[in-house]
Symmetry: C2
Subunit: 330 residues, 2 copies
């Protein structure tokens, strides 16, 4: 079987690993890939560590995502979790479980996406280890490590009455992109249809932008450490929608977060319910001059953990990114 | 639906997470489970990090493994990789991808196995984070972190002519157990049959022991840091069989490893080819008084990377743990 069109199964593990490593940036670690484990610098004597998995079906569809976008997204969602602690990402470990019939070129595209996300979102962070196994279900499990560089971790439990509520990054864009995908790139039986360049070009520019952010989110990774340095009292990654994640922060902190609808853009409902943008939600002492845009204020805990303009927030409709997700896979 | 027999899908993510966490030992971390990321102590300014995944089908069969054994094995194989660098495991992150129809009790058993492996093999190491997702294929991706406590990492490339070759742990037992499983616990079509207590009791004691080590290996985790302290020059986890892994060490070090057949027990072929025991293979300066049992010597690189009693090793048969692995799944 020739190189073009060769599968992972026909190419073999050693050659697939060689191709992946050849596309990744040089190791920045004490010990990089190739031994039983990597050794990563943890300069202040602590390491931030998180893991997040993308599974074919629930988390992505091969008809919609390019391999590059998948690699990018797998890195980005983990880098965002490191940033949300106020840390600087230092290394990724990537465990790939691939069907034997996966094209070798797919894995190369995935490696390119991992490398690009590290280079653009977290310079200095590289893939320092991983694992390659066979599976019936394409699965990308990434672990991200990071350094607090001497700062305290910024937890979701630190919001205090009087703090301002702020956000850094997009709200509702990725969910709009998913709505466009379901609306414009699904067949009569709900099966996903390929997202071609021509079809993307036929979309309104903001719709095409939303699709690209759904498939390859750009979390404000560097802003996490900056916000910590500026004095953020609480911070978290907005992965499940602002309303749900703000409620979690309020509960962890024992306070009420009161959001201001006028700050949430033309479609406040979409900003409140749309997930997967991986913006940073944070609280800061009043008057902090940097660290995001104001969207509300922290109050003593009232009857509701989350209010909007002082009224208890009750979700009414809005886009649910998980609705119908299992209707078609491809 | 009542609690007994409830599935993961019916129970819901939050409740499944609560049950997992309730069965794990208390966090020993700066920040444990529940935030965007964990924060783990890295007392000497470096962290050892490795990831290894178990996938239903290629890596385990539900008819053969109990949930407890699966959790144990997922922890053990990762703890072994940390130990092989000469490090002390400090934390695990566990990413579970589960079919919706997985029984909730299965996840509880898995958590018990993770906890027991940490307690028995690596006291002080706990599960400090993780991820729970839906998948068609049951997948357990574990990341293990560790501390070198000021020592240099022991790489596979450090073997020097004149060093002794040593091993700590079993060779060939886990592969024998897999052979027993295929021989005694497979149906006429190759489908796996349940490993009941009664059926195990009917086996010869050494066969039953081999099965138990295949399903729940006991790598000599604490011995890794001890060997590093004793001066090991190279070390690695024996996961793919002594012959293959010793060849890898020889190639990484630019030397020849000459093994002594008389040291390999009654069935030297099984010791050379059987994988999955997760013994430690290491080299030490001659005369080192602790750190394993001698199985050979390091020589200047000759024509062959691996020799046995001075003769180039060529694998002839022996048990291949991956042969027929895809013949049946269950």
């Amino acid at each position: 079987m020739g190189r073009v069109g060769a599968t992972v199964g026909a190419t073999g593990e050693a050659e697939i690993l060689r191709r992946i490593l050849s596309r990744l940036p040089a190791s920045a670690a004490v010990v990089g890939p190739g031994d039983d484990a990597a050794v990563i610098a943890a300069p202040d004597g602590r390491v931030v560590a998180t893991t997040d998995t993308l599974v074919h079906g629930p988390d992505f569809r091969l008809a919609w995502s390019t391999p590059f976008q998948l690699g990018w997204k797998a890195a980005a969602v983990n880098l965002a979790d490191v940033a949300a602690m106020g840390a600087r990402p230092t290394a990724l470990l990537v465990a790939l479980a691939l069907p034997d019939e996966t094209p070798a070129a797919f894995v190369e595209g995935l490696a390119d996406g991992l490398a690009a996300a590290c280079a653009e979102l977290a310079p200095g962070c590289a893939v320092e280890g991983g694992d390659l196994t066979v599976s019936d279900t394409l699965t990308i499990a990434v672990t991200a490590l990071g350094s607090l560089d001497g700062r305290d971790p910024v937890r979701r439990s630190g919001a205090r009455p009087g703090d301002e509520v702020r956000v850094i990054g997009d709200l509702g864009i990725a969910a709009r992109g998913l709505a466009v995908l379901f609306d414009r790139f699904s067949g009569p039986g709900g099966e996903p249809l390929p997202v071609t360049a021509a079809a993307l070009g036929a979309l309104a520019p903001d719709a095409a932008h939303a699709v690209s952010r759904q498939l390859a989110p750009r979390p404000p990774v560097a802003a996490g450490a900056d916000a910590a340095a500026a004095g953020a009292t609480a911070m978290m990654d907005v992965s499940d929608g602002l309303a749900l994640d703000a409620t979690r922060m309020a509960q962890a902190s024992g306070v009420t977060l009161d959001l201001e609808r006028s700050t949430l853009g033309e479609d406040a409902a979409a900003a409140l319910t749309g997930g997967e943008d991986h913006a940073l939600l944070l609280t800061v002492p009043p008057g902090t001059t940097s660290a995001g845009r104001r969207i509300g204020v922290v109050r003593e805990r009232g009857a509701a953990a989350l209010t909007v303009d002082g009224v208890a927030y009750e979700r009414r409709g809005g886009w649910d990114p998980y609705r119908d997700w299992d209707a078609g896979r491809g």
